[in-house]
Symmetry: C2
Subunit: 141 residues, 2 copies
């Protein structure tokens, strides 16, 4: 949502502010579902037709590096991105419309503890994603 925040973040990290980047950022920030690079390209070109696909790839790369967006993994593919508003969050995706909502799962610690005990592994990172139907898509068949 906060397109301006992202632009500022890019600038603060030594990246220049360009019309192309602005178009990409505004597109991703305004969309509440995961978008592939090609989808970003098509949407962003509506407001900035000169945009090149390469720039979309490069901008998404930087946004991911700054943790402003995160990759969404789905059975069909894993090249879609969505705004990663606040820190580490888990995803709940609607299988029909693609709408994504975030939630945090604080109570995973007990499980992790058990797995660490049993396996001898150290745990550095985790992914949790749920798939289902959003309220709207439950009613429309």
């Amino acid at each position: 949502m906060p397109a301006q925040t992202w632009l500022t973040a890019l600038q603060e990290n030594g990246y220049r502010l360009t019309a192309s980047r602005r178009a990409v950022v505004e597109t991703v920030a305004a969309t509440h579902r995961a978008l592939t690079p090609l989808e970003v390209f098509d949407l962003a070109r509506e407001s900035h037709p000169e945009l090149g696909l390469v720039t979309v790839y490069r901008t998404l790369e930087k946004l991911e590096e700054l943790h402003l967006i995160q990759r969404v993994h789905q059975p069909h593919g894993c090249q879609a991105f969505i705004s990663a508003s606040q820190g580490h969050q888990h995803l709940l995706l609607c299988r029909k419309c693609g709408q994504v909502i975030f939630f945090d799962g604080d109570n995973l610690d007990g499980l992790f503890e058990r797995v660490i005990q049993d396996s001898g592994y150290t745990i550095q990172e985790h992914w949790l994603q749920l798939f289902g139907l959003c309220p709207a898509c439950q009613t429309t068949p």
Copy 2:
């Protein structure tokens, strides 16, 4: 591990038993880390040099369809597969050597319940993956 079981499963589902399929199945069944199609190809060709990459793709597709293998999602890519021994399981991956172990997380139900309440979504499926270091890789820097 049970290469023969997989071959039987393929046969029972109307697929023919060929030397190429055997080579792919044995390779995946014998490996305890996720393999990409290309890695399967290279490994399987050691014992069956006539194997074509296309057949690897096609065989992996069938094994996945029969739930004998499952896709492993990692930051670097999501085209790797690993044996899916028993039903739905969660993954714990070593970031250094790639070794994968499975665990089940029965106590996620409370979390799911809360998310269902809060979001209004129905939940059909979930993915949980942990990343860390296996005991061996913790000591070798």
